[in-house]
């Protein structure tokens, strides 16, 4: 039987040199102590960020027109979430690369109907009011063509919505019950009742904030606040943190791809970034088994700095 050839990037030479004393327990104890002291010192000096969560009440009071416009978009199914697609609904095209479209393959699992979940159901939970009940009935009993016509009329004037005398004004009479529904949802939001209604739809106890977070993400208020904190996607926001604190810096490569084409310009940018990162991650994990890549350290020779004392002794 012939002896297998030595492969320097796979095999390791047998070490026949000297051994030195090593106290593994002492090393571990010192490491814990040092990290503990360093952590406590950093916590005392720099503390940690805690920017208060915004609520729909905050949003609808701070930027009432943005809220009202978003509410109208949710009702007429023209918002970002309404047209998102899987896993929330069938409203939009799935992100894909060629025939690869896992978002579409998996389908709808977290069912969101923006008109029902974000507008009509919360309004129905309010104490009965004749005008509101009539508007809800008018909307729910209308044909889809009628709703389309109301929505088109609303879309034409949406940019001109105002908030005057504590009331949302939608400057058209062709939008059916939309002005009443948008105004009543806005009033509900400004009292804080909508925050509760969106999380209690599944019963008394809840830990699921999918609906209010999706609603918030459809407006511009949340994004504007995030931009002010340099957290936007085009600001390398994935690795940033509110204020001056360090964030998830280890995500630098993920956020890097979002800054350059085609990732930054493609409608399937998220999928391209995640696909790229999955491939790179697989390469990292499987590095020892990939010829060429596993030779890089030997060719870079950084190991000569790490083991300089060993090589000096050998020489």
């Amino acid at each position: 039987m012939t002896k297998k050839a030595f492969r320097p990037d796979v095999d390791a030479p047998e070490y026949k040199g000297p051994y030195v004393p090593y106290d593994i327990i002492k090393e571990g104890a010192i490491a814990v102590l040092v990290v503990l002291i360093l952590t406590a010192a950093l916590a005392i000096v720099f503390s940690s960020p805690d920017e208060k969560a915004i609520t729909i009440k905050t949003w609808s009071n701070a930027d009432v027109v943005d809220f009202a416009q978003t509410a109208g978009d949710e009702l007429t199914a023209t918002s970002g979430v309404a047209g998102y697609g899987a896993p929330y609904n069938n409203g939009g095209p799935a992100q894909h690369w060629g025939f690869l479209a896992p978002e579409k393959w998996v389908g709808v699992h977290v069912n969101i109907n923006t008109a029902t979940d974000f507008v009509l159901d919360p309004l129905k939970s309010q104490p009965a009011q004749p005008a509101l009940s009539a508007a809800i009935n008018q909307w729910t009993s209308a044909s889809s063509s009628t709703i389309t016509a109301w929505s088109a009329a609303y879309a034409k004037v949406e940019a001109n919505i105002t908030f005057v005398n504590n009331k949302v004004k939608v400057p058209t009479s062709a939008a059916g019950p939309i002005p009443v529904l948008v105004n009543d949802l806005t009033q509900m939001a400004r009292t804080g009742a909508l925050d509760q209604a969106l999380v209690t739809q599944n019963g008394f106890y809840t830990t699921n904030y999918t609906k209010p977070l999706l609603f918030l993400s459809d407006g511009t208020y949340l994004a504007n606040l995030a931009d002010q904190q340099h957290l936007g996607g085009d600001q390398w926001g994935m690795m940033n943190e509110t204020g001056q604190w360090p964030g998830q810096a280890w995500l630098w490569l993920y956020t890097f791809w979002y800054q350059i084409p085609p990732y930054s310009t493609s409608a399937s940018g998220d999928f391209l970034v995640w696909g790229t990162m999955m491939i790179l991650t697989a390469l990292l994990i499987l590095l020892p088994f990939i010829p060429g890549l596993r030779s890089i350290p030997r060719r870079l020779k950084i190991y000569r700095i790490i083991w300089r004392e060993h090589y000096a002794t050998e020489a």
Binding site: S48, D50, A53, P87, V108, W250, P288, Y303, W307, H310
Partner: protein
């Protein structure tokens, strides 16, 4: 029962196998090869020490629930320690990773040691991320609403809903810490079984 029967028992076989592969002087060595003489070796144990502080501070935060730290100065301080130990953990882990890459530390039958280390890194990223979206503040709102798009694009959002606080918190405080601890344990055991990778032989320039 005869000695032969005792030696065939599962327990006896497991003990023999463990002791053969990891005798006490390998598990808790009192000497090491002389080439292990660089500051780069400190970052492995620093990563583990930081993981310990992360877990300890996380356990203290768990005592009074996920919102305690917003209203208590002590809670905020513990949260600050949790944050900074995480930053130290990732810093040390990444330096450790690049150090081991530079040494081609997978050589000599240590491929699985590398693989468990790399997977631990991934589990840690996920643990860090679920922590960020479980903070119940503006940060978690923004990060969750942004991250959903990436995860949804892979189809994963159907099962891993980053907007569901309860699900994220459970992953953060139960599933991912278990994964990180088990993977780290396996990684360390493999290091102890195989030992620290020896230096490249000088002047070896053959094909990989």
């Amino acid at each position: 029962m005869s000695n032969a029967q005792i030696e065939r028992q599962w327990t006896s076989r497991l003990r023999r196998s463990v002791v053969d592969k990891l005798p006490p002087d390998k598990l808790l060595p009192d000497t090491q090869p002389a080439y292990v003489a660089s500051w780069i070796y400190v970052f492995g144990v620093t990563t583990m020490a930081a993981l310990g502080v992360v877990i300890a501070t996380g356990c203290i935060l768990a005592l009074d629930g996920p919102q305690w730290w917003h209203s208590s100065s002590l809670g905020h301080f513990v949260n600050s320690m949790h944050l900074w130990s995480v930053e130290i953990f990732f810093f040390a882990m990444i330096v450790h990773l690049w150090g081991k890459f530079s040494m081609a530390a997978w050589r000599g039958g240590r491929s699985l040691t590398w693989v468990t280390g790399a997977v631990t890194f991934l589990a840690s990223i996920l643990a860090g991320f679920t922590g960020y979206v479980s903070q119940t503040n503006f940060d978690s709102q923004w990060i969750a609403t942004q991250a959903k798009d990436g995860i949804n694009s892979t189809g994963g959002g159907a099962f891993f809903n980053v907007l569901n606080l309860g699900q994220m918190l459970m992953w953060h405080i139960v599933l991912l810490p278990i994964a990180a601890i088990v993977l780290t344990g396996l990684h360390v055991i493999m290091v102890r079984v195989k030992g620290v990778v020896p230096p490249f032989e000088d002047n070896v320039e053959v094909s990989a």
